[in-house]
């Protein structure tokens, strides 16, 4: 017998049909035991019970036409999307832009520019991402203020007392995120500093703001901040909320960044020290670029939490997307249609948070594979 014959490679055979295919999958996952089978049946029964009626209400019987409540009142079997349609500008851009339709291009352009910068940032292969990001964090806020607030180039001022809706949610979250990032980085470095006073200050700051609920901070910001200024000085409510949110958010960002800093091997700072690099050079060129990359997923998680928390500004009387929907659905014109308002606000919140969350998951997977190949 030829010795080689023993080693003839057998061709791959397809797996037996009982382990693949829809039937096998169903058996394995849905009906593998009595409990499992009962759960599956109950689940499908609940879906049958609630989903078709929901779609009937939300889509098939829903009202889209008209410009007042008469149509909705005549057909109570369906959702009143007419309300959202008529109040769309108010829900997205607040009262000023809703009552000045000729100015609505301003928030539209501002938000579009944001999306236009964001898309290439999220796409993996874009070159010069760093500069796009720097543009987004420095120049974009100026563009936003000039467009949305106005006051320059003959653009009329939109008073912040009239800011509201999604635009306000966006502005609060964006400011909170952008300002909290550098402050958080400094705090995270401070917490790891070798100087006891700086370390103690950072720890105290971080733990104080992390231990205080945002709603309390916002309340304090509206009650306490004015006390520090001479009476008569009307301190902008939106700015107050932004300060409170930034103080709060920077503590969370700091902890996320610290997680990244801790993951960096000690050899990295030793090698840069041995080359004679100073503290800031070491951190800016060697430690932070690596640490921030690692902590992006957890930083994004704090962004998501903050984005949802912005609704708490209702405590100081600001109307963000959620509170604006609520207010609109309680107006005389649309009283009684609050479910539609909540659904609309909820959908936008969900879309934004889901976007951020899937991006952070994508990054996490990418960092995982990079970690393994390195």
């Amino acid at each position: 017998m030829n010795k080689n014959e023993v080693f003839i490679k057998l061709p791959d055979r397809p797996p037996p049909s009982s382990t693949v295919g829809i039937i096998a999958w169903t058996q394995k996952n849905l009906f593998s035991s009595t409990t499992n089978t009962l759960t599956t049946i109950l689940f499908f029964y609940l879906i049958y019970l609630y989903i078709p009626p929901f779609f009937d209400w939300a889509i098939f019987n829903a009202n889209f036409s008209g410009s007042d409540r008469s149509i909705c009142d005549a057909n109570k079997a369906g959702a009143c999307w007419t309300f959202i349609k008529v109040r769309f500008d108010q829900l997205l851009f607040g009262l000023y832009f809703a009552s000045n339709p000729d100015q609505i291009w301003r928030p539209v352009v501002a938000l579009s520019v944001f999306v236009l910068i964001l898309i290439p940032l999220v796409i993996e292969k874009t070159p010069h991402k760093k500069w796009l990001l720097i543009f987004l964090l420095t120049i974009y806020p100026i563009i936003f203020i000039i467009l949305v607030y106005g006051g320059y180039f003959g653009i009329p001022i939109s008073n912040t007392t009239q800011w509201g809706g999604f635009l306000l949610t966006f502005a609060l979250a964006f400011v909170g995120i952008v300002l909290a990032l550098p402050i958080g980085i400094i705090l995270a470095l401070g917490r790891r500093s070798e100087m006891p006073i700086i370390r103690a200050l950072s720890v105290t700051y971080i733990e104080f703001w992390r231990g205080t609920p945002l709603i309390t901070i916002l309340f304090m910001a509206s009650v306490m901040l004015p006390l520090f200024f001479p009476s008569g000085v009307e301190f902008d409510k939106v700015v107050r909320a932004m300060i409170g949110i930034t103080l709060f958010q920077s503590a969370y960002t700091a902890e996320a960044v610290r997680g990244g800093l801790q993951a960096i091997d000690k050899g990295q700072s030793e090698a840069s020290m041995a080359l004679g690099m100073g503290y800031w050079q070491r951190n800016v060129f060697i430690i932070l670029p690596q640490a921030l990359k690692i902590s992006i997923p957890s930083i994004v998680n704090t962004f998501i939490a903050l984005f949802k928390d912005t609704s708490l500004v209702s405590i100081i009387g600001l109307l963000d997307l959620l509170n604006m929907s609520q207010t609109a659905s309680r107006s005389l014109d649309w009283n009684g249609y609050d479910i539609e308002g909540y659904l609309f606000a909820g959908f936008i919140f969900w879309a934004c948070c889901y976007g951020m969350s899937s991006y952070s998951q994508k990054l996490e997977r990418k960092l995982d594979t990079e970690g393994r190949t390195e």
Binding site: A271, A274, M277, Q290
Partner: protein, 259 residues
């Protein structure tokens, strides 16, 4: 007092020491890791430090560029005593190159950027100048074609040669090596040792912690044996290997030469 004794010796020898260590003591908590170390390193001298694990070899050379802080005694590098003065420390560090056991290259920068970062920001060289110099040194360590790659794409031996080039780009007066080959696979040890031998032949002052006795034999002017935080014995390689005086040295040599 310390500087006076140092200058006295230097006039006597006609060779000036570049590193003078005087009665150096260091503790980690209660653990006395370096005990009364006295050491003078002359310009262009090559010193190999060996000794059992935990004897304080790494700690000693890390004290020289203040990666570790000592508590007693003095260390004078190129005429400047190491104190808490951050600016002075950074100046000394930029004149003293260090090569680590685990390379410690910057993984987010290319090989070339690894080599040019400190010359540009610490030595304030132009990018062009720094690039030129880096390419020259990468050619010397025989990896100019890897300049645009990232450290993670290189073999261990190549990474360690980049680390040597990175340190040399600062034009240091002294090079410290802490077990530069002990994290390498056997087939890569040779290429790194060859680079180090070439560097030694070019006249660089070198302090090398290593157990590569072939290297010590070939290159060292002096071999130092450390045990339990003390310098037990030092001699030129020939006498050190052939007639070790202390029993501890004999034991150590028999252990490392037998395997």
């Amino acid at each position: 007092m310390t500087s006076a004794s140092a200058s006295k010796k230097s006039t006597k020898n006609e060779i000036s020491p570049i590193i003078t260590i005087n009665k150096l003591n260091k503790w980690y908590g209660k653990f006395h890791v370096l005990k009364d170390i006295d050491l003078e390193v002359n310009k262009t001298e090559k010193i190999v430090i060996c000794g059992p694990s935990g004897s304080g070899k790494s700690t000693l050379i890390r004290c020289i560029n203040r990666l570790e802080v000592h508590q007693e005694g003095s260390i004078i590098v190129d005429g400047t005593e190491l104190t808490d003065d951050v600016k002075q420390i950074n100046e000394i560090r930029s004149d003293v190159g260090m090569v680590f056991q685990h390379f410690n290259l910057f993984p987010h920068l290319t090989v070339l950027e690894n080599c040019t970062l400190a010359p540009i920001w610490v030595r304030k060289k132009s990018k062009l100048e720094a690039d030129e110099m880096a390419m020259e040194l990468l050619t010397k360590v025989k990896i100019p074609d890897q300049a645009k790659k990232y450290p993670g794409q290189l073999s261990g031996g190549q990474q360690q040669r980049v680390a040597i080039a990175r340190a040399l780009c600062m034009q240091p007066r002294v090079m410290l090596f802490d077990e530069p080959t002990s994290a390498l696979d056997p087939e890569m040890i040779k290429e790194v040792l060859e680079t180090m031998i070439e560097l030694a032949e070019s006249g660089m002052t070198m302090l090398v912690v290593t157990h590569e006795m072939g290297f010590a034999n070939k290159v060292a002017d002096r071999v130092i044996f450390m045990d339990e935080g003390q310098i037990v014995e030092q001699n030129d390689p020939k006498n050190f290997f052939n007639n070790p005086k202390s029993d501890r040295t004999k034991l150590f040599l028999s252990q490392i030469l037998n395997h």
